[in-house]
C-alpha cells in the first residue's frame, strides 16, 4: 500500500464529511442571520442538544455492536415520571428516587438485551415492543398528565445534574459537563480498550468474535443497559431543567438519535462506530433545527432538510466505504 498524504487520509476518515457539513451549515446560518451565533441562541441550543446527545453517545456504541434501541424516547419520558411520582408521593427522597429510576431503566435495558441475545429476536422488534410497553406505562400511571416537579429547586442533586451559571454572556448548564465527560469516557472505551475492540468485532463479525472467546452476548446486553440508562438520565436532566415531567415527552427521539449517529459515520449494520462523528451528527441536526427557524424557513419544513441530510450523508459514507475497501 502506497503512502498516502495527510489530506488524503483526512478525507478518507468517516468524520470528514460530517465535519465539512457542520462548518458549511454554521457559515450559511450565520451569514443569513448573525443572531445565530449570539450568546443567547448558543446557550439555548446547547441546553437541549446535550440532553439528546447523551442518548446518541450510548446509541453509538450499541449500533457499533450491531444492534439499536427504539425504546430510548419512551424511557426519556418514563424515567422522570417514575422519579417524580416516587418523590411526590413522599415515599423516598429525590436522590433515592433518581437512583431507583436509573436502576429500573437499566433493568429495562437488560430485558431488551435478553430478548435480543437469548431469543435471537431482531432488536428492531424487541425495542419497538419495549417502546410501547414503557410509553404505555408512563401514560397509564399518570393518566396522561404531567407530574409536579417544582420541589427540585435548590436540591443538590438538581444542581449537580443541570445547575446553571453564566460564563460571560453564556448561560451554561451542568449537563454540558456530563455530556463532555460521556464523550471522553465512551470515546476512550470504543477506541482504546479491549472492550471497544469486542464491541466492534461483535458488530462486524459476531461468529469470528465468538470463536476467539469474545462474550458477544454479554457485550450487547451491557450496551443495551447503557443505552436505556443514558436515555433515563437525559430525560431526568431535561425534566429538571424545564420543570416538567410529561409522560409524552421524548416521542420520536429514537429516530432523531439514530439519525444523529448514522450521519456521524457509524454503520447501521454494525462493526464501525465513531464517537467524534456522533458529536458532529448531534450538532448538525440540532443546529439545523435551530438555524432554519432563525433564517425564516417555516419550522414545518424541518424534516425535509433532515431527510435530505440523512440521504446525502449515507450516500457519502457508502461511497467512502467502497473506495476504502477497494484499497485506493
Amino acid at each position: 500500500m502506497e503512502h498516502r498524504s495527510l489530506i488524503q487520509r483526512l478525507v478518507a476518515k468517516p468524520e470528514f464529511g460530517p465535519f465539512v457539513l457542520l462548518v458549511v451549515e454554521v457559515a450559511v446560518f450565520w451569514s443569513i442571520n448573525p443572531d445565530f451565533l449570539s450568546p443567547l441562541n448558543i446557550s439555548n441550543t446547547l441546553a437541549f442538544t446535550v440532553e439528546l446527545g447523551l442518548i446518541a453517545l450510548a446509541m453509538t456504541l450499541l449500533m457499533t455492536s450491531g444492534e439499536f434501541d427504539l425504546s430510548v424516547g419512551s424511557l426519556f419520558g418514563f424515567s422522570p415520571v417514575l422519579m417524580w411520582t416516587l418523590f411526590n408521593a413522599g415515599v423516598v427522597s429525590l436522590p433515592l428516587a433518581f437512583v431507583v429510576a436509573l436502576i429500573v431503566a437499566a433493568i429495562i435495558g437488560y430485558v431488551n438485551g435478553w430478548f435480543v441475545t437469548r431469543l435471537k429476536i431482531p432488536s428492531f422488534l424487541v425495542t419497538l415492543g419495549m417502546l410501547l410497553v414503557v410509553r404505555g406505562t408512563a401514560l397509564f400511571v399518570t393518566d396522561g398528565f404531567p407530574q409536579r416537579t417544582w420541589k427540585a429547586d435548590g436540591n443538590w442533586l438538581a444542581t449537580i445534574l443541570v445547575g446553571d451559571f453564566y460564563v460571560g454572556p453564556f448561560r451554561i448548564y451542568a449537563s454540558l459537563f456530563w455530556f463532555i465527560a460521556a464523550v471522553i469516557i465512551l470515546g476512550y472505551l470504543l477506541t482504546k480498550t479491549r472492550t471497544g475492540n469486542w464491541i466492534q468485532a461483535a458488530g462486524g463479525n459476531p461468529g469470528a468474535a465468538r470463536a476467539r472467546g469474545v462474550q458477544v452476548d454479554r457485550v450487547k446486553v451491557g450496551l443495551f443497559m447503557l443505552s436505556s440508562t443514558m436515555a433515563a438520565l437525559a430525560g431526568i436532566i431535561s425534566s429538571i431543567r424545564t420543570s416538567a415531567a410529561n409522560p409524552n415527552s421524548g416521542t420520536g427521539y429514537e429516530l432523531e438519535v439514530i439519525a444523529m449517529v448514522v450521519i456521524g459515520g457509524t454503520a447501521l449494520t454494525g462493526g464501525r462506530g465513531t464517537i467524534i462523528g456522533t458529536v458532529l451528527g448531534i450538532l448538525i441536526l440540532r443546529i439545523m433545527r435551530n438555524g432554519i427557524v432563525l433564517i425564516g424557513v417555516p419550522g414545518l419544513a424541518y424534516n425535509i432538510f433532515i431527510g435530505a441530510i440523512i440521504l446525502g450523508m449515507m450516500a457519502l459514507h457508502s461511497w467512502l466505504e467502497r473506495r476504502h475497501q477497494a484499497g485506493t
Binding site: T195, G196, Q200, G203, A208, A209, A211, G213, Q325
Partner: protein, 257 residues
C-alpha cells in the same frame, strides 16, 4: 513410538437418520501436513467440524497428544491447540490486522481497570508475524482486513494461529477463489507453518494444490476413510482421483496400517 498429535477413533456422527461419519479413524502426526480429500458429501466437512468443536460427535473418541478430549465449543478446541480457518469467516473485516490478530486476547497496558489495549505492542507483533508468515509486501498492521486480498486474509488467519501456538491448523478450502500467485502464497504460508513446528490439515477441491504442499493424503468416501496413507511423491493425481470417485480401492499406500 511418539503419540500422534491428533488421534480420532471410530468417530460416528449422525444427523437424524443420516450418517455423515461412519466409524472414522483419522490421525495427524507432529509436524505434518495432511491433505483431506473426498467428493462433496464424503464427510470431510463433518469430520473437521467435529474436530474443531463446532458439532458434537455421536460416538467415538478424540485424543490430543494422547489425552482424551471432549469439545463442547470451538473455544474448547482452540484452547486445546486446534485452530480452524474457514475462508473469510474468521476475521472481522472492519478491524485492523493487529486488532484481529489479538481479538479476545488483547494485551493490556497500564493499570488494569483502565482496560487499555497495548496497541504499539500489537502492531509490533503483527508486523513481525506478517513477515514470518511470508507476506513480502509492506502492509501496515493498522490496515483494515477489508482492504486485503483473499490470500492476504488467509495469511493473517494463519499468522494468528501460529502466534497463539495452535499445534494443528485446519485450513478449509484456503485456495478457493484465489488467483495463481495468491494460491502459491497461501501454499508457502502453510509450508512455513509446518517448518516452524505446526501441523496442518489441508482441505481443497483442487487436488493439484493439495499435491503441492501435503506430506500425506487421506481420502474419504460416503462417511468412511477409504485411504489414509497416500504419499503424494509416489502417487499420481489420476490414481488419487480414482480413489476419490471409487474407481479404485487400493492405490498408493492405501490401507497400509
Amino acid at each position: 513410538m511418539v503419540e500422534p498429535l491428533i488421534k480420532m477413533e471410530k468417530i460416528r456422527k449422525s444427523y437424524g437418520r443420516v450418517t455423515a461419519l461412519d466409524g472414522v479413524d483419522f490421525q495427524v502426526n507432529h509436524n505434518e501436513i495432511v491433505g483431506l480429500l473426498g467428493d462433496n458429501g464424503a464427510g470431510k466437512s463433518t469430520l473437521i467440524k467435529v474436530l474443531s468443536g463446532a458439532v458434537p460427535l455421536t460416538s467415538g473418541a478424540i485424543h490430543v497428544r494422547g489425552k482424551k478430549v471432549d469439545f463442547h465449543s470451538t473455544s474448547d478446541a482452540i484452547a486445546a491447540g486446534i485452530e480452524t480457518i474457514y475462508q473469510d469467516s474468521a476475521l472481522v473485516t472492519q478491524l485492523s490486522i493487529a486488532r484481529n490478530l489479538f481479538l479476545g486476547r488483547e494485551p493490556i497496558k497500564g493499570p488494569r481497570f483502565l482496560n487499555r489495549m497495548d496497541q504499539d505492542e500489537m502492531n509490533r507483533v503483527a508486523r513481525d508475524l506478517l513477515k514470518q508468515v511470508g507476506i513480502s509486501k509492506n502492509i501496515p498492521p493498522t490496515t483494515p482486513i477489508g482492504s486485503l486480498s483473499g490470500g492476504e486474509r488467509q495469511a493473517v488467519a494463519i499468522a494468528r494461529a501460529m502466534y497463539f501456538d495452535s499445534d494443528l491448523i485446519i485450513l478449509d478450502e484456503p485456495t478457493n477463489n484465489l488467483g495463481v500467485a495468491e494460491t502459491q502464497g497461501v501454499l508457502s504460508f502453510v509450508r512455513n507453518a509446518r517448518d516452524s513446528g505446526h501441523s496442518c490439515i489441508f482441505i481443497a477441491h483442487n487436488i493439484h494444490h493439495v499435491f503441492q504442499v501435503v506430506d500425506r493424503i487421506v481420502v474419504m468416501r460416503r462417511g468412511k476413510v477409504v485411504a489414509d496413507n497416500i504419499d503424494p511423491k509416489t502417487t499420481s493425481v489420476a490414481a488419487v482421483e480414482d480413489v476419490i470417485t471409487g474407481m479404485s480401492e487400493l492405490t498408493g499406500g492405501a490401507h497400509a496400517h
